[in-house]
């Protein structure tokens, strides 16, 4: 089995120590960081996403994959930057004002980052002003989530604030979270909606290319 396959397997199996050691071995073997990223890590993460969508993997598996990717990226990111690898896009992600839930948001952030997006993780309980600030700092996509029915309305408030700041045309707005539906996303004027982390990445790519 070659090193890229071992890295791929380590992501799926959630083996942090193995993924870090195999990346180091691959680098010593002069495999380019971008190759390690695209043909080891991202392929592994795509498979994790597929297994989650088919119902074989669950939230704990996604969390484990997130941690494994973070360990891998901590090693690889400086090298990718040095190689001049540019992010696909810049995403500012956060849970709306009043909402403190972040597991789903963190998994989505990980998937974005692992798939080549630059992430600004604004955290939880994010006021509209912080999303606006992120747009002024170059965010091309605003990804907003809400877990609670009582905070869902703040998604609309956030979008309205962005409109009022005359920044709506400059940004793609995606929404998600357990109670959020496509109907709701359309009603509040979002550009895109996703039901889970893997589909959020696919949607973001689609919207950026449009």
């Amino acid at each position: 089995m070659d090193l890229l396959d071992e890295i791929y397997d380590a992501i799926i199996d959630g083996k942090q120590d193995i993924v870090v050691s195999k990346i180091k071995e691959a680098l010593m073997d002069h495999i380019q960081p971008e190759i390690i990223m695209n043909e080891g890590l991202i392929l592994g993460l795509d498979e994790v996403g597929r297994l989650y969508e088919e119902g074989t993997f669950f939230v704990p598996d996604m969390l484990i994959a997130a941690r494994t990717m973070q360990a891998a990226l901590k090693l690889l990111r400086p090298l990718l930057v040095k190689e001049g690898m540019k992010p696909i896009g810049k995403v500012a992600i956060g849970t709306v004002q009043g909402d403190l839930h972040d597991i789903g948001k963190s998994i989505v952030a990980m998937m974005f980052e692992s798939n080549g997006f630059e992430i600004m993780d604004l955290g939880v309980d994010v006021q509209p002003e912080k999303f606006i600030s992120a747009i002024n700092d170059g965010a091309q996509i605003i990804a907003v989530s809400a877990l609670l029915t009582t905070t869902m309305t703040n998604i609309k408030t956030t979008i309205e604030s962005i409109e009022k700041a005359e920044l709506r045309d400059q940004v793609i707005i995606m929404v998600g979270g357990a109670p959020v539906t496509e109907e709701f996303a359309n009603a509040v004027g979002a550009d895109g909606f996703a039901i889970n982390a893997p589909s959020a990445v696919r949607k973001a790519r689609e919207l950026l290319c449009a």
Binding site: G14, Y52, G55, F58, V59, P60, D61, L63, I64, R67, Q97, G98, D99, L100, H101, I103, S106, D125, L148, T149, T150, T151, N154, A178, P179, T181, F184, I195, N196
Partner: protein
């Protein structure tokens, strides 16, 4: 029929005279305090501040006059301490951020941080780090995660057992007083005593403890269900041992003073998926549920109540196999949770307690007519051959329009009037 007879019929899967109703008997079938006040105003009941008996979710107590007005068939008794580790006693006034004057326990001690968020403290001790936060413009508390650094080599399951203790004489005394309170009730009684929730993610972070140790972070716990199963088994095994000892002591005090016991609020479902496979459920959770349910069924006349949010249709046979009699909240908005399918497949073995109206969209957002129609439809589907207690899908949240809540109650009332048995 009176409420007790009605509930007995439905819980034994016979058709009662009408669909029984629960609101307020537990922490998962309640109403936000703001909506309790709105209901009291709507029905012109005596104006008085609502008591918040469950401070974590800010649930309001439904007193007898409101229970009568709403034709509620169940009331609850519970253990001494709330989610923040203090008892409800010596009620004091408190003004909420949304301007409602309520009554809270004298131990409901809070501060306001620099963001304007309200912080609440375990056991009411302002010297301890806060364990709950109500964000600005929020309506209830979320747990503040206090996770000590995880030292993988020195993880000790005992640290996740601090909250599981043998019930004290003081606790037993409190139970006697609760039983006294409901002694003359004409309603069915649901008891919530704690100690039997295995891996309930609301309880893992331990907002009731001053300095929780062990694995208390939500993500860390979920990861542990995959990577540290031995640790989890050790915790659950000891917890189960203590739970059975406590059930004996509780039964000695309570006897037939309750009809139903709330066992566990661990959510196995998400909106569209689940937190684990059914194989993991069978391996990690079922053995302990079975021990608890078997003891209860062998030694008491109580029925056992399981709460699990989310898409759990595929878990239903496993809940049945584990010995649960009742499933709540029946989140029909989650994937695979079609009411007709659930009733057809599992209705003869599980009582559905909930499912009455969607609280993510219909109840808070739609027209009262939409609420009315959905409730009527749910009553029609779930009430066939008993096995159904009407409740919304989980607690009624803040900001739910009063006319929608009233439409919901009117719909059940009209359904019952038109389908009397």
């Amino acid at each position: 029929m009176n409420s007790i007879e009605r509930m007995k019929k439905t819980l034994t899967h016979e058709t009662p005279d009408r669909v029984p109703i629960d609101f307020g008997s537990s922490a998962v079938t309640g109403i936000h305090c703001s909506c309790v006040e709105a209901l009291r105003d709507y029905y012109h009941l005596e104006k008085k501040p609502v008591k918040v008996h469950e401070p974590y979710q800010m649930l309001g107590m439904l007193e007898d006059d409101l229970l009568d007005e709403l034709c509620i068939d169940v009331e609850g008794i519970c253990g001494r301490n709330t989610m923040f580790g203090f008892p409800n006693e010596n009620w004091k006034e408190f003004r909420t951020p949304w301007g409602q004057e309520i009554l809270v326990s004298e131990h409901f001690n809070t501060t306001v941080d620099s963001n304007g968020d309200i912080l609440i403290y375990p056991e009411g001790d302002l010297k301890a780090p806060p364990s709950g936060r109500m964000p600005v413009k929020g309506y209830f508390f979320d747990t503040i995660i206090r996770q000590p650094q995880v030292d993988e080599e020195n993880l000790d399951p005992e640290e996740n057992l601090e909250e599981f203790k043998i019930i004290s004489d003081e606790d037993c005394h409190y139970l006697r007083s609760e039983l006294n309170r409901v002694r003359n009730s004409s309603r069915c009684i649901l008891g919530t005593f704690g100690g039997t929730a295995f891996g309930d993610i609301a309880l893992v972070p331990a907002p009731f403890l001053k300095e929780p140790k062990g694995i208390r972070d939500v993500a860390e716990w979920y990861i542990s269900t995959k990577l540290r199963q031995d640790y989890i088994h050790t915790v659950f095994s000891k917890q189960c041992e203590i739970a059975i000892i406590n059930l004996k002591k509780i039964h000695d005090v309570v006897q037939d003073g309750i009809d139903i016991i709330f066992i566990c609020g661990t959510d196995f479902g998400t909106q569209r998926s689940s937190f684990c496979s059914t194989s993991t459920y069978d391996e990690l959770y079922a053995p302990y549920y079975k021990q608890v349910n078997d003891w209860i069924h062998k030694n008491t006349n109580w029925l056992t109540f399981k709460h699990s949010c989310g898409a759990v249709e595929n878990f239903m046979p496993h809940f049945i196999e584990s010995g649960f009699d009742i499933i709540n909240p029946v989140q029909c908005s989650a994937s695979g949770m079609d009411p007709e399918l659930l009733k057809e497949k599992y209705g003869s073995e599980l009582t559905f307690w909930g499912g009455g109206v969607d609280t993510q969209n219909t109840l808070p957002n739609k027209h009262p007519d939409d609420v009315y129609n959905e409730v009527q439809e749910r009553c029609r589907i779930f009430s066939k051959k008993g096995g159904y207690v009407f409740n919304s899908i989980h607690n009624i949240q803040a900001n739910t329009p009063i006319h929608n809540i009233v439409a919901m109650f009117n719909a059940v009332k009209d359904y019952n009037n038109n389908h009397q048995n």
